[in-house]
C-alpha cells in the first residue's frame, strides 16, 4: 500500500470499532489521520498503537461531535498537521435499544444529537475548510440499514440514520458546485463494540434469551450467512474515498452481506 502523502483525513468515533478500521485503512493509503473521539483514554491508546506503523501521521483530537468548536478544532488540527483536509468521515454514533412504546424523549434527544446533528456539524465544518483551501474533498457519513428500514427496538437510532441519509443528499446538492462529494455507507450487523452492547442491552430488555441470540437471529437473515467484521465494511468506504467513486455523490452504499436488498 502506498505511503505517499495523500493529504489529511478526520475520522470521528475512530477510537474503536469501524472508525478505527477506517482510520487504519486511510493511514495505509497514505493519508494523515486525526482520530477524533469523545473518549481520550481509548483514543490516545489507538493513536499509540497505530503510530507503531505510521509514526507522525496519526494524532488524537478529543471531540464531542455535538460541540461545533470541538469538531472545528479537529478539522483545524488536520489542516495544521497534514496540510489540509481531503477526507472527512462522520462516523461517531451510538444506539440504545428500548421497546418501541417505551422509547423515551431522553434517548431520542441524546441519539439525535450525536448521530444526526453531529453529522450535520461534521459536514459543515469539513466543507468550510475544504472550500477555503480549494480542496475537492470527499465527505463520507456512516448511515445504517436502520436508516432504510426501521427496527422496532431502536426507533430513535433508525430515525437518526434516516437523517444521516437525508443530510448526505442535502449536502451533496449543496456542495457539488464546489467539487465536494458527499456519500454514505450503511453497515448491516457488524461485530463491533456497538453491537456487543446492543446484544447485551436486548438481552437485559428481554428481547432475547441468551447472549449472542439477538445478533445471531439477525445474522440468520443475511444471505452471506455471517455478520460482518469491521474489515468487511472498510473496502466499501475505501472505494468511496478513492478516485474510483469520483462520479458518485448523494448515494448510500449498504454493506449488509445481502440483508434488506434495497
Amino acid at each position: 500500500m502506498s505511503e505517499n502523502n495523500k493529504g489529511g483525513a478526520v475520522v470521528t468515533g475512530a477510537a474503536r470499532g469501524i472508525g478505527r478500521e477506517i482510520a487504519t485503512a486511510l493511514l495505509r493509503d497514505g493519508y494523515g489521520v486525526v482520530i477524533a473521539d469523545i473518549d481520550p483514554a481509548v483514543g490516545e491508546q489507538t493513536v499509540k498503537e497505530l503510530s507503531k506503523d505510521h509514526a507522525g501521521r496519526v494524532v488524537f483530537s478529543k471531540v464531542d461531535v455535538t460541540k461545533r468548536d470541538e469538531v472545528k478544532a479537529a478539522v483545524a488540527a488536520c489542516c495544521k498537521e497534514f496540510g489540509g483536509i481531503n477526507v472527512m468521515i462522520n462516523n461517531a454514533g451510538f444506539n440504545k435499544p428500548e421497546p418501541f412504546l417505551e422509547a423515551s424523549e431522553k434517548t431520542w434527544h441524546a441519539i439525535m444529537d450525536v448521530n444526526a446533528l453531529g453529522v450535520l456539524i461534521g459536514i459543515q465544518e469539513a466543507a468550510k475548510a475544504m472550500i477555503e483551501r480549494g480542496i475537492k474533498g470527499k465527505i463520507i457519513n456512516t448511515a445504517s440499514i436502520a436508516g432504510r428500514t426501521g427496527f422496532a427496538d431502536f426507533a430513535p437510532y433508525s430515525a437518526s440514520k434516516a437523517v444521516v441519509i437525508s443530510l448526505t443528499q442535502a449536502g451533496a446538492r449543496a456542495l457539488a458546485g464546489k467539487g465536494i462529494t458527499v456519500n454514505a455507507f450503511g453497515p448491516g450487523v457488524v461485530d463491533t463494540p456497538l453491537w456487543e452492547k446492543l446484544d447485551a442491552d436486548l438481552l437485559a430488555m428481554g428481547a432475547s434469551k441468551a447472549p449472542g441470540e439477538a445478533m445471531n437471529s439477525l445474522a440468520s437473515q443475511i444471505l452471506l450467512g455471517r455478520v460482518a467484521k469491521p474489515s468487511d465494511v472498510v473496502g466499501t468506504v475505501r472505494f468511496l474515498w478513492s478516485p474510483q467513486s469520483d462520479y458518485m455523490t448523494g448515494q448510500v452504499l449498504l454493506i449488509d452481506g445481502g440483508m434488506i436488498l434495497q
Binding site: 451533496a172 444471505l223 478516485p243 448523494g250
Partner: protein, 257 residues
Amino acid sequence: MSAKTGVLTGAAGGIGRATAERLAADGWSLVLVDQFDNVADVAKGIKAKDGQKVIGVVADITNPDQYGAIDAAIASIGAPLKFLGLVAGVLQQVGSIETLDIAEWDRVFNVNLRANVFLMKHFIPALRAAKGASIVTVSSWYGKSGHGFFGAYCASKAGVISLTHTAAAELAADNIRVNSVAPGNVATSMHLDALREEAEKRSVTFEEMKKTEWDKIPLGRAAYPSEIASAISFLAGPDGSYLTGATIDVNGGCLFT
C-alpha cells in the same frame, strides 16, 4: 495474483470497453462478447500483462445456441471463471406507451433482461465451481424511476435490478455475489444518440436537450465510461467482498434513492 477469467458482454460498447481495460489492469483474463465484429479488435487493443489473455467473441447473447464460442474461449484461457459482467444493453426507440410497437418492447426486453437470464443460467455452474465468484449487472437510474417515452427501457432495467436481488438470494450459499451498477447519463454514443432522438421527439435542439438533462446532474456532466468501469471493478474485487444484492448508483447525483 492467481489466474482468473471474466466474461464481459457488450464489450465493444463504451462502458464495456472501459470495463475491459479496467479489469485487465486489475489482472483479469477476459472473454469479451459482443454482437459486433469489432470486438476482436477491441480485445487486441486491451493491454494484457504476461500470463493474461483477452479474447474477443462475436455472439448474439439473446441466442444461447451461440454461447459455445464463449465456452471455448474460456477453456482456451484455462483459468477458472470467477466473474460475469452483464454490460450489454440497448436503448429503445423513443416513444410513448400508447404508440410503442410491441415488437420494440420485446426487442428491448430480449437484450436487456431475457439474455441476462440465459447468461446466468448458462454460467452459474462454472461460477459455482470456481468457489468464490461474482456477477455484476449494469442497470440504470432509469431502472429506479420511470421516464416518459422510455417505458420499455425503464421497465427492462428495473427488471435487471430485481433479477440481481433474486440471483443474490439464490447464489449466496454458492459463494457467488451478485450486484448491480446503476449508471446515470454516461457520455457514450448510446446516450448522445438518445438525446438526439428525444430532442426530435420534444421538438427542441440537441444542445437544449443536452442542457436540460445535464442540468439535472449535481456534478454537472455525464460520466466518463471509466467511472462506471471503476464501480464494476470494485464490485468484482476484494474490497467488495461483503456486498451482495447491492446496487451502486454512479450518476453524479442525478437521482438519490
